[in-house]
Amino acid sequence: MTKSYTLGRRSIEALRGIDLEITKPGFHAIMGPSGSGKSTLLHLLAALDRPDQGEIEINGRRIDRMNESQLTMFRRHHIGIVFQQYNLLSTMSALENVTLPALLDGMPRSQRIDLGMNLLTTLGLADRAEHRPDALSGGEQQRVAIGRAILFEPSILYADEPTGNLDSQTSEQVLNLLATLARERNMIIVMVTHEPAAAAHCQRASILRDGRIVHTIDVHEGNVGELATRALQLDR
C-alpha cells in the first residue's frame, strides 16, 4: 500500500509500497530512522487514517473499505492504541481513563468500575485509581494508557514509541508488561520503536527506510546485537 501527504504544492510520499503480513500472535517491532514512515504505517494499520492505494485486512475484515462509523466501532472493540505522549484525558481520573472505551460503549457504571478496577489491579495501579493524570508519573500514565488499550481485549495492540518519553528503568517495566500481554493474552502487538533495547523484547522486527520495508528479521537472543548494529547503521 502507499500513502502520500501534500504540503502546499509539494507531495511527500510517506509510504511507497508496503507489503506486510503479521499472522502469529506476538510482539512485532517496526524500526527505522526518523521520517521513514513508521508512524504513518501504524496509523493506517490502526484504522486512524486511510491508504491512498492498497488493502488492509485485519481479522479477515477489509478496514480500507469501512465507512467512518464502522471504523469507529472497529477501533473501539478490535484495536488498542498506545502513544508516546500517553494521551490520557486530563479531566478524568486513572479509573475513568482506563474505562473510557467502555463508557463510549454505553456500559453501565457499576460494571465499568468492576472491569476498570480489575484491570488497574493487574497493572499494579489499584491505589492510583482516583488520581488525575497530572498526579501520575510517566510510567504510571503509560501503564494506564495500556490498560485503556486492552480494556476490551482486542486482538491487536499498536504502540508508537511507547517508551520514548521514559527512562530506561521504567521503559523496561512497560516493555515487560507488553511482552507479558502478548504472551498471556495471545495478542498481536505492533510496536514502533527507535531503541534496539526495546526491540530485544520482540519476536520479529521490520526495518523501514524511505517508506519501504527493507528487512524483516526474526529476533532471538543471538541476533539482538545484529539488530542493534543495523538500526545504528540506518540511523546514520
Binding site: L48, N87, S90, P101, L104
Partner: protein
Amino acid sequence: MKEMSASWQLALSSLIGKRWRTALMAGAVALASALVVAVSCSIVSVQASIEHALMWFLGASDARIVHPFNGRFDESILDTARTWEGVAVATGRFGLQLTLTHPLTQTSPPDKDPDKDPDKDPDELQAPLQSTPNAVGVEFDLVRRFRVFRDLEGTWPDEANELLLDDFTADELQAEVGDTLSVAIDDKTESFIVAGIYNSQKFFGTRQRGLIEMDLHTLQRIAGMNRKLTSIYLILDDDIDAQAFCDAHYDEVPEQVSLERSDMVRSGFDRQIQGTRLGLLAGSILTFMCASFIIVTGLTTSVSERQRDLAITRCVGGSRGQLFASQIYFGAILSGLGIVIGLPLGIALAGVLAWYYRDSLPAGLQVSGLGLSLSMLGALGAGLLGAIYPAYLASRVPPLQAMAARARPPSWRVVMVMGLIGLGLVALQVGLFQLPDPTQRFHAYAYVGIPALHLGAFLLAVPLLYLVTWFAGPLLSALLRIPAGMMTRSVLATPYRNGFTAGALMVGISILVSTWSNSLSLLNHWLSTVQFADGIAFRIVGITESQRAAIESMPFVTRSCPLRYLPLQVFNRQVFGLENMGPRTVKCFSTDLDIFFEINPVRWIEGDPEIALERLKRGEGILVADRFTNAKNIGVGDVLTLGSGKVRHDYEILGVIDVGWLEITAQLFGMRSTYMELAVSGIFMDGDVVAERYGNSDIHFLQVELSDDIDDAEASRQIMAAAPGILFWTTRDVRDRVNEIAFTTMAIQSVIAFAALALSSLAMGNVILANIRARSYEFGVLRAVGGMRGLLARLIFGEATIIALTAALTGTLLGMHLAWVGAENYRELAGLDVKLVFPTIPALIGVAVLLLLTLLATLPGVWSVVHPRPSSLIAAGRNG
C-alpha cells in the same frame, strides 16, 4: 441510545474540568434569564397595580356616562338615568383641581420640632402648607356603594363642609382628622373640616397628586358650575347585561356624552399590555442571543483547546455523534444551570424592586408567566444554539489530531463561508426592511431581522478580524515594538475564537452607539423645536377665568394666547404606530388662531395660511403637525374623521405646520387621554368651533409672552404665586426638562451597554487565558531562546488589542446600522423627522473603556506567562 449516556458523561467531565469557564457561560445564561424574568415581572407588577387602581376607581359600577372630551354635562341626565329600568344605583361626580391650605402657623405639630430637623428652614415650617389635589364632588351617601375606602380613619363625611382626604394629601398638608383647611375662591376663603382620611393605594403615575372627596353641590358651587357633572356611575341590577343596557339607552343621552360599559376603560390599557408583550419578546430574543454568543465563544475555545482529548476519544472508539452530542449536552447543562440560577434570581430581583416601591404597587409582586416561559425557552435556545457550531467542530476532529503537536491551521474556506453566511444574514435583514406593509415589516424586523443582523455581525467578526489584523497589526506591532509578523501570525492562528470574542464584545459597543445616536437625534430634534413665546401656564383640569385674569394682569405679561387640549379619536385610518396597536387618539389643540400665529413662529410646510385660516374659523378643516406627513404622507386635501362617542365629523386637512414644541410641552405636562393612551400628535382647530362641537371650553394652556426687563425665573415665581394651582414653565424650563429626560434615558442605556461590555470582557479574559495556556510551550521556548518577559506581555496585549479593535469596528458599524433603523422607525411610526447623529464622544469613551477592560482582561494571562520559569512553561506545554 445507550451510547448517548457516554456523551453525557463526557460533557460532565469537561464541565467540571473547566469550572471557571463553565461558570462564566452559565453565568451569561443566568444573567439573561434573570434580566428577562425581572423585567417581565416588574412590568406585570406595575400593570397589575394600574389595573388594581383602575378597578378600585370603577369599583362596583357596571356602566358609566362620561363626557369623552373632558367637558361637563347637565345634571338632568342623572335624573333621567335614575328612571331607567335596571338601574340599582346611579351617582354623579364632578371633578376639579382645588388648592387646599392648612394654616400651620399657630399649631405646629410637636413631632415636627424644627430643632430635630436641622436641614429644614424653620421659616418654611411656619408658612401655611398647601396642596392641590384632584377634588371630586360626590354624593356622600351613595359613593360608598361603589367603592371601598381602605383603612378609613375618622368618620364618613356627610356635611357640606366636610372633606375626605387620601393619605397623600393628608401627608402633604400634615392634616389630621378634625383639622380645618381653607380653600381660596376668588377673593374669599371657605373653611372645611377633615372628617376622614383613607389609604388611597396609589400606583406610580398618580403619586404626585392627591385625591379628595367632598360634597357634590359644594364643589359645583365653588367651580361656579351648578348642576354640572363630569361623570355618572351606574350599578345595574344583577340580571341586566351591561352591554345590552348601554345599547338600549344609547340614544337617550345627548350627543356629546356617551354611555358605556365601565370596563371599556380597560381597552386602551389592554392595547398597551399587548405592546409591552411584543417589546418583551423582541428584547428577550436579543438578550439570549448575546448569551449564546458568549457560549459559542466559550465552547469553541474549549473544543479547540481540547482537540487532543477529542482526538484521543476518537482513537479509542468514540464516534462523531458522541462528540457532537457531548457538546450539545454541555450546552443543555449550561441552559439548565442558567434557568436554575436565573429564574429565582430574576424573581428575587423583581421582588426587591416591588418591595422597595411597595407603596406604589398595591398589587404587589406579580410573577409573569410569559416572562418565565420566555426566559426558559431563551435559555434553552441560547445553550443549544450556542453549542451547535462547537459541536460540529468537535465531531470533525480527526483521530490523528491526537498525534499532532499543534492545532491545524484554520482553513480559508471556512472563514469565507462564515463571511458569506454573515453577509447573507445582513442581506436578509435589509430585505425584511423593504417589506411594503409597515406593520408586517415591523414585526418581521423585530423578531427575525434584528436577530439575523446580530448573528450576521457576529459571524462577520471573523473576516473583519483578518482585515483589522492586516491593517492595524503592523502599526500596532511597531508601536509595541513586537517583531514584524509575530503578532499577526499568532492572532490569525486561532481566528474563530478571536473573531467570536470580538463578536461577543461588539454587543456592548453597538448598544452604546445605537442608543446614544438615537437619543441624541431625538434630543436635537426636540430641542430645535422648542422655540416659542416665553412661557406657558398649565392646569390639567382647566385654567379658571380668575386665574387667567390674574396672569394677564401681571405687569410683565405683554401678550397671551389660550390653548385648549382635547383627545380625539381618528376613525378612518391609522396614522401613527402599528396597525391595530398604535394609539388611535390624536391631540387636538384649539386656540384663537389669529393670536396664536401672531406670537408663535409657526413654519408652514404645506397649505396657504390665508385660505386655511378662513376655512378653519368656519370649522371646515384642520391643520396637522408635520409628523402626519412624515409618517403616512398624509397632507393637504386628505380627510380625517375625528370625534369620540357619537360625535364624528369629517375634516379636510388645510395645512401642515411644524409645532413640535407644543407637542413636547403637552407631553411633558403629562396630558394623557382619559383612556390612558398616549395621544401621539397634534391637530389644530379654531377654539370656538371646538367649544361648540365638543362641549368643552376649558383652557388648559395659556401661552405667555414676557417683557424683556424681567428675569424668566422671577416671572415664573410671580405667576405661580398670583395664580395658585397653576404650573408655569418658561422655554428654558421646557428645554431643561427635555435635556433631563434625555440624559436620564441615556444614562440608563449606557449602564446596560457598559454592563454588556463588562460581561463580554470576562469572555475575553477567558479566551486570552485559554490562548496563552495552549501556547505556553511556545512562550516557554520564546523565553528560553532569550525573548524578554516584556515582549511576551506586549505580544499578548497586542493580540487582545486587535480583538478589541475588531469588536469596536463591528460594534460601531452594527450600532450605526441599528441607529439608522431606529431613525427610520421614528419617521415611519411617529412621524419624527430626525437626523442621524454619530455619537462621537460616547463611541470614543466606549472604545476607551473596551481597551481598558481588554488590558485588565489580559493581566492574568500575562502574569501566567511572565511569572513562571521557562522550563515549567515548556513542561506544561508538553503534557497539555
